[in-house]
Subunit: 107 residues, 2 copies
Amino acid sequence: MNKPYYAVIFTSTRTEEDQGYSEMAVKMENLAKRQPGYLGFESAREEIGISISYWESLEAIASWKADTDHFFAQQKGIKDWYSWYKVRICLVEREYDFTKLPSEEGA
Amino acid sequence: MNKPYYAVIFTSTRTEEDQGYSEMAVKMENLAKRQPGYLGFESAREEIGISISYWESLEAIASWKADTDHFFAQQKGIKDWYSWYKVRICLVEREYDFTKLPSEEGA
């Protein structure tokens, strides 16, 4: 990812209603991967859930938000699954990473 | 948060070395809160860890990165705690949120 790209940070707290949530989460992740402009996805949940999807452009984000199946999932999320959420659309301006060499493991 | 602001997304996988990690994580979160320009912090870990800190400016992020105690923690993280990490510095361009009204809970 060398060009500027976008991150959509979705932070949420869940209700106690769990029915269908996990299946929908998997379905939406798989559906997102097939969208034009999709770059990646990261997710973790403890007290709060953080899901970040990465996209080539604002247009790609808008298309994904308006996707029919995704729109249905969003409505269901508002009705049943989330007590709170926040969406932030962000331009990734800089990035760097670190990978430990195998020989360094436990060194 | 009405002005544009910044998010630092820190995504990581851990080594099996745990010694001192949790204490340092709490210490760094408390230290970050006292930095000029700090706006907020969110974190969750499952297969991967995602920690996001929010800042008023790139200058605030640079100061926090260079903080002596934080710098020591970063070096310790590279040496012992992380097998991989990625840092993304992002400009938050848009945001919106949703809060369920109490009367809607479970409706």
